[in-house]
């Protein structure tokens, strides 16, 4: 437990040969799925089935099957959307921002986090489409020349959202694939199976590990990281505009963009830690995804959690300071009104509990850490719920006040989105290398020329 933080720790614990890294990381791909994997997959597929049934019902009978009412026209759908987009942000942050900041420790977790970004954005993308009530008309959201001579309203935050989320998905996918190309090349050269070889050859595009290619490749990777960084900030900013650009008290606030971005990173890191705790154990990657990684991520959770706590406090302060009676009412109502239970779950999970990460022992003890990060995920889901529902359920006219109770289909869709996410995560661990092999080799000990530059 005596860790010297004064000097950089090796990214990989204990010296492993490069060939050993290959073997370790591609082992899940070489072996047939074991019983544990199949049990896990059957659980997630069951959850996914619940979601499919809920959404089929929704398509058959319309949004009336949800608990939505007047005035609460947005509830679980938008809550889940914002929650999942937020989960995705950690991946881009790890892969792009930490890359630009030359944080070498990111290599062990970047691939996995990027994959989680893609899966989380997939889950997120479902909700705006199904909440429109007629998802088969979703194509109207794209500006295409049509017989009505109409264009989409480019000044609307909802259209910005379409552009932001689809760009984010595309760029994340491209970034992820670019990182995967050298690994596909390696897998192609490793595998004995002819079918696998064909598949890997197609995806590797004929990668040859040529240094003339690496030269451009590294440049492209840096450019992509440079783009992904402002992109990740813009996406949750635009998601927050969905609320902030309206005039509903509790939504109409300039603190929303930074507050949402901090919250997104907070929840995303919590999700990455949750999943990595299992992955490093199950796939024997403790040397590559080390306790130091988890320690560092927990520190980021502590920082962003405190930022989110600051935002909660600042919202209250501004409500008082603005002198606007509607703002004041909505915030007092949030903390002490009918949804006080949700508000206090949110505050305790997001602000109070992560403070335990001030203690080094807590940051480096896996069971405690797991409980905390799961609670953070719960708290961040409730944050979006509180923002969406409590601002709506007290309309300007007391005659149109209401209370939202989720229906079984609301819950089923939420469960289904978790099913989809974890199904994709499980399939990913069995089909693609969960750690970027070429990147981890580059930071292994002895992988770079010594400082005297060879024997001359």
């Amino acid at each position: 437990m005596n860790i010297d933080y004064s000097q950089e720790m090796p990214v990989i614990e204990s010296r492993i040969s490069l060939a050993e890294i290959d073997r370790l990381i591609s082992r899940p791909l070489d072996e047939k799925p074991d019983k544990k994997f199949l049990i896990a997959l059957s659980i997630t597929l069951t959850l996914l089935l619940v979601g499919v049934i809920s959404i089929s019902y929704l398509f058959l009978y319309g949004t009336g099957v949800w608990g939505l009412n007047q005035p609460v026209g947005w509830a679980f759908d938008i809550t889940n959307f914002v929650f999942w987009v937020g989960i995705g942000h950690a991946g881009t942050l790890i892969s792009a921002v930490l890359y630009l900041l030359r944080q070498k420790w990111r290599t062990g977790i970047a691939r996995f986090a990027e994959a989680m970004t893609i899966f989380a954005v997939m889950c997120a993308g479902i909700f705006p489409i199904i909440h429109t009530g007629r998802p088969w008309l979703a194509g109207y959201l794209t500006p295409y020349p049509n017989q009505h001579g109409l264009w989409v309203n480019f000044t609307s935050p909802l259209v910005w959202d379409v552009f932001a989320v689809s760009t984010y998905f595309t760029v994340s996918l491209v970034f992820w694939y670019v990182g995967l190309i050298p690994d596909f090349g390696l897998l192609r050269d490793r595998t004995a199976s002819k079918l696998k070889k064909t598949i890997y050859s197609i995806f590797s595009l004929g990668w040859r590990n040529s240094h003339r290619n690496w030269n451009h490749y590294e440049k492209a990777y840096m450019l992509l990281a440079g783009f992904a960084t402002p992109l990740v900030l813009s996406v949750h900013t635009i998601v927050s505009f969905d609320f902030a650009v309206s005039i509903i008290p509790g939504w109409h606030s300039t603190i929303f963009p930074p507050y949402f971005v901090a919250g997104a990173i907070f929840s995303g890191f919590a999700m990455v830690v949750t999943v990595l705790i299992f992955v490093r154990k199950v796939f024997d990657l403790q040397h590559i995804i080390t306790l130091n990684h988890l320690d560092k991520m927990n520190k980021i959770i502590l920082v962003t959690g405190s930022m989110v706590g600051y935002a909660y406090a600042m919202e209250f302060f501004i409500a008082w300071y603005s002198g606007n009676p509607f703002e004041q009412f909505i915030f007092i109502n949030r903390a002490f009104g009918p949804y006080a239970w949700a508000y206090w779950i949110m505050v305790s999970c997001n602000v109070f509990i992560p403070q335990l990460f001030w203690f080094k022992k807590v940051r480096r003890t896996i069971p405690v850490m797991l409980i905390i990060v799961i609670l953070v995920n719960v708290g961040m889901w409730f944050e979006r719920f509180v923002i969406t529902v409590t601002s709506l359920h007290r309309d300007f006219l007391p005659s149109s006040w209401g209370y939202f109770v989720p229906s079984v289909f609301d819950l089923g869709t939420l469960i289904g989105s978790f099913g989809l996410f974890f199904t994709l995560v499980l399939l990913f661990t069995k089909t693609l290398p969960v750690v970027a092999i070429s990147e981890i080799k580059a930071v292994a000990e002895g992988a770079q020329p010594s400082h005297n530059g060879g024997k001359h």
Binding site: F175, R208, K441
Partner: protein, 387 residues
């Protein structure tokens, strides 16, 4: 093996230090067509191979700027030229509100251009038939060895010299790589023709089904099938059995205020023209007059139209009688009709009628002005001088 063409000579090295050293030596020996293969980018290799920094950034820059310009111009055109609409009190060109999409399109286009450009133009991918593929050399360098390959079509290439160089550098597993023997491709191969036919049939079948069947499936028809009363259908609810209901007595349709002196010889109370004879109103009156009145009354109201002789002659509008009429009398005739002239109330709205009356008055003034009035009009006034 004489017909196989030599691609190049390869050697493997154990450590990054060795490969950087070897690359430097090969570069210094003057070889141009050689490449270093490493499982990950090795630092210092760019300098050893004397590679210029990648110019991929320019591709990104050009496409990023094009994306920004395209997005901004497109939104400007769509929102202020093609379908201008005021939304939320913003101007047509609402720059702040265009920023998010401009940014997203910039990033999207720059990213895609960088990656696609790098893969296709810089790397010439996909290329799975390169001679180095499937060699033990490639298997070694993608795992944990560092290799160098000097290509046979380099000007300085000489098998013995290169072998010697590799030996000097302590390179291991020196091996020669040959181009794979390619089978000549024949277009009339039955397998290929069958494949072509199958692909053709599948494509046309899928296109047919998509365009003629799938696109016409209505996913959910409940909105169309819901209970409703069509205008001509029989109603079981109303006693008279009509689905279509008559408006309540005394209902006045929008824009159709009834004329209260209809059928009388003249309006009981004198009516005055509610419109001012502005240039715009006179223009409207002229347009309506030429459309509806001139076929009988003639272009200038002289009653000399092309229909003269086929009907009872239409009267001139410049007669003492008409010039002496009040505006209300002309209005009455337009709405009510007179002799053979039918009512024009369905063709001309209220404003149209009063505009036509202004125009008739202008025609009358023009045709029957007194000399003093003409002098007055010809005077050098600021408004006349401008013409």
């Amino acid at each position: 093996m004489s017909e196989r063409k030599l691609y190049g000579l390869t050697a493997l090295f154990q450590t990054p230090d060795e490969i950087v050293h070897a690359a430097k030596k090969v570069q210094d020996s003057g070889y141009k067509k050689y490449d270093v293969h490493t499982p990950y980018p090795v630092h210092g290799m760019d300098a050893a191979m004397k590679l210029k920094p990648s110019n991929l950034g320019y591709v990104t820059l050009i496409f990023g700027l094009s994306g920004a310009a395209f997005a901004l111009l497109f939104m400007y055109w769509a929102m202020s030229k093609d379908y201008p609409m005021i939304i939320g009190g913003k101007p047509f060109f609402a720059l702040p509100a265009f920023i998010p999409i401009t940014f997203e399109i910039t990033v999207l286009l720059a990213t895609l251009a960088t990656v696609i450009g790098m893969l296709t133009f810089y790397f010439k991918f996909p290329n799975n038939s390169q001679p180095l593929h499937d060699t033990p050399y490639m298997k070694a360098v993608s795992s944990d060895k560092y290799g160098i390959c000097i290509e046979a079509d380099d000007e300085l290439f000489d098998l013995e010299k290169v072998k010697h160089l590799f030996k000097e550098l302590n390179g291991q597993n020196v091996s020669d790589i040959y181009f794979p023997v390619t089978e000549p491709f024949k277009i009339f191969e039955p397998k290929f023709l069958i494949l072509l036919a199958v692909v053709g049939m599948l494509t046309s079948g899928a296109t047919y089904v998509t365009l003629n069947k799938l696109l016409y499936i209505t996913p959910f028809t409940w909105l169309m099938d819901q209970d409703k009363v069509a205008a001509q259908s029989r109603s079981v609810f109303y006693a008279d059995g009509f689905g279509m209901r008559k408006p309540v007595d005394g209902t006045v349709a929008r824009g159709f205020i009834p004329y209260e002196y209809k059928g009388l010889a003249a309006p009981v109370v004198p009516l005055s023209n509610p419109l001012l004879p502005t240039a715009q109103i006179l223009q409207l009156g002229r347009k309506r007059f030429l459309t509806f009145c001139s076929p009988c009354h003639g272009n200038f109201g002289d009653g000399d139209s092309r229909l003269r002789g086929q009907f009872p002659n239409p009267p001139s509008l410049h007669s003492e009688k008409v010039r002496g009429w009040q505006d209300g009398n002309i209005y009455h005739v337009i709405v009510n009709g007179q002799n053979v002239m039918p009512s024009y109330s369905s063709q001309l709205s209220r404003d149209d009628r009063w505009a036509v009356i202004h125009y008739i008055r202008a025609l009358q003034k023009a045709k029957n002005a007194s000399p003093s009035e003409i002098l007055e009009a010809k005077k050098e006034t600021p408004s006349n001088a401008a013409k």
